[in-house]
Symmetry: C2
Subunit: 409 residues, 2 copies
């Protein structure tokens, strides 16, 4: 063999261990033979990989395989464990903090959520409070036999690619805040704080998008644009199952796509950005409501009045749908995705946004052959938090060898 | 080794042969030792790969390595050949047809270009004429000791991903035209027509973009948006050195991004698309010129009057630059590229488009941290044709084993 690259064998083993875990995750409890058939590997190869994963506690065996569980002789069924590593997800919202723990099967095993006014907040007390919540959820996860393997944090702002630094979160008023100093060591067992968990920080729209991809994959395709709203409007672009991050990590700023170029001045410096028409404040204002006080109450009032058919509220949401449709029509022309997914607060208001949005998309997308599907998220506002926790647990499924090494170390 | 995938060894050899060719292409004539150092392979491994490539005629040896040509003892220098495989590129323009042949060193060795009014043309005579031109260039390439290895065709329209079918080319009036029946066998040696060359068909903006990436890589980064214009406006998105094609192959339709959503009706069905403000017809009309007759003459007049400072012409180009800036600001917010490259006819008019375009980009891009670089193509209108020919020759460099097999067969 020419040009042998050192580490290739180990890489293949690492990848195959991961493929076995995802095969079991994808089809539920199943036999070794079913895994082998699904992956196109020999049964001998799969047995070796499975033994290693059983030893590491990353697979478990359950009674006999159910009938029809796969070709070959019956055997014990393989399943992902409900003990062992778990992922911690956290969310810094504009008016809340939330944390949850997800086990390797993808089930939420502990969670907490508090009201927290983050608008123009100092980062230190918010992060100290978040750390307490992470510690609390980690303790409860450990009581369930789980071991936190990583922490991922969703933030309503731009995160520099490959870092833990929030470059800009306008609604929090945060600029250039590195979350690592405040969160390193959070979620670890008492006495182990210095061995911090792997920490990832990402934009909430990005984590909401991967949640759609991972948790609703029978409905959501592998090429889509995910649009979400809390106070601002964010989007994430998923291409062939991978997030498009952009050169600096700032891709997906749909809220600042110009809709009416001579429109009102936006905080970003531009004019007539989508947020000026479909952002939460703009919609509440157009509907005759205010967002100065309790934001959750204002949104609930908006939804109730829309459901009752109040003309001014319906009209405000229709205008927002039109603006979303204009911005998304441009996005579809540029990216040719298979679907657009409305997530976050947009999912809640989809019934009233959708007609105008679909009309604009249909009229404006350049290729009638390229009609895009419009889906409404079934995760809604829970998407970013679930995406964060799943991202943290998938680090283990992606790279089981490192997890094993970390437990030995 | 568990889970051995058959073919992996062959895949590694294929990839390493290709890496050796690109290493020589990238640094010019160089020693085996220099290739080994560049690729991180052993000299023994590189020698084996080089012998195979020499036998296949994909590398040649030239006198001794120049001093400083790399570490280790002096030896003969390796170079890509100026004989052997070549790529044929063809372009179907709105008012021209062009063909060229590029050798493995990337030099144009034969080319031809004719005026051809393609507007609302029947495909059959255009494709028959193109086939004659391809045959003519192939004969001349063969006289130079080259063997056509593939044909790639640039078209001003949408091509269904992975096919040779032009789904829609509005300025030609073509819909659903498969180029394969007309072009299969073009460029082959007489008597060999049934063994057609590999044929690829792609959008002209896509091929213009890869030409920038491959031919101007010291200046153009690996993440950029390439905007070009002939009659319409097209764009191509390159992410990490790869074209973004979109689910159906229709990504990059910047010309139909809404700029003024209530603006004039566009042929695509939308309103106020970028083409209505920065497309060739719109600009010529605003400048008081007409594109009904000789398009090339009209564009030359536009450039001359702009250079003379005619107010109406300058104003028309400034308005086009503003519209481009609005559409590109949205694009930059969505994709966070490192650069925007103005190509095709836009390169020629860049001096007058650029001030307004840069002003809009600066005001409207959401992240001031993410300022994008604006580059003007040095290939201009030649980009798509060169991109096509290079794409055809790179098929051989990407997969030398298949080339060797095809010559044996």
């Amino acid at each position: 063999m020419t040009g042998h690259v050192p580490g290739t064998q180990r890489e293949i083993r690492r990848r195959n261990l991961s493929r076995v875990l995802y095969a079991v995750a994808g089809q539920g409890p199943c036999s070794r033979a079913a895994v082998a058939a699904r992956l196109g590997l020999t049964r001998t190869a799969v047995s070796t990989l499975v033994e290693e994963l059983l030893r590491a506690g990353l697979l478990t065996e359950q009674g006999p395989t159910p009938p029809g569980g796969g070709p070959g002789r019956p055997g014990t069924a393989l399943a992902l464990p409900d003990r062992g590593p778990c992922g911690l997800g956290a969310e810094i919202g504009v008016d809340h903090l939330a944390v949850c723990a997800v086990d390797p099967r993808g089930r939420v095993r502990a969670s907490t959520r508090i009201v927290s006014d983050g608008r123009d907040s100092a980062p230190e007390p918010v992060l100290a409070r978040l750390r307490e919540l992470v510690d609390d959820v980690a303790v409860r996860a450990r009581e369930e036999g789980l071991v936190p393997a990583g922490l991922a944090v969703a933030v309503p702002g731009l995160v520099a690619r490959g870092t833990t630094t929030v470059v800009r979160a306008p609604n929090l008023g945060w600029h250039g805040i590195d979350l690592a100093p405040a969160l390193t060591g959070a979620g670890t067992a008492p006495g182990n704080e210095r061995e911090g968990l792997p920490l990832a920080v990402d934009n909430e729209a990005n984590l909401g998008a991967v949640a759609e991809l991972w948790l609703d994959h029978t409905r959501v395709p592998r090429d889509f644009v995910h649009v979400s709203a809390e106070i601002g409007i964010g989007a994430a672009v998923v291409l062939d199952g991978e997030l498009l991050r952009g050169t600096r990590g700032f891709a997906g700023e749909l809220g600042h796509v110009p809709v009416h170029p001579q429109g009102p001045r936006c905080a970003c410096g531009g004019r007539g950005c989508l947020e000026q028409y479909a952002g939460e404040s703009a919609v509440l204002r157009a509907a005759g409501l205010t967002a100065d006080g309790d934001r959750a109450a204002a949104l609930t009032a908006l939804a109730e009045r829309a459901a009752r058919g109040e003309v001014r509220v319906r009209s405000a949401l229709e205008d927002a749908g039109t603006a979303l449709g204009i911005a998304l029509a441009g996005t579809v022309s540029l990216l040719d995705p298979r679907a657009v997914v409305l997530g976050g607060a947009l999912a809640r208001f989809a019934p009233w946004l959708r007609p105008a949005l679909e009309r604009e998309l249909a009229e404006r997308t350049a290729a009638p052959e390229a009609a895009v599907e419009l889906l409404v998220s079934q995760l809604g506002g829970e998407g970013p938090l679930l995406g964060a926790a799943h991202a943290a647990v998938r680090v283990v499924l992606d790279d089981p060898l490192s997890y094993v090494a970390s437990r030995v170390g």
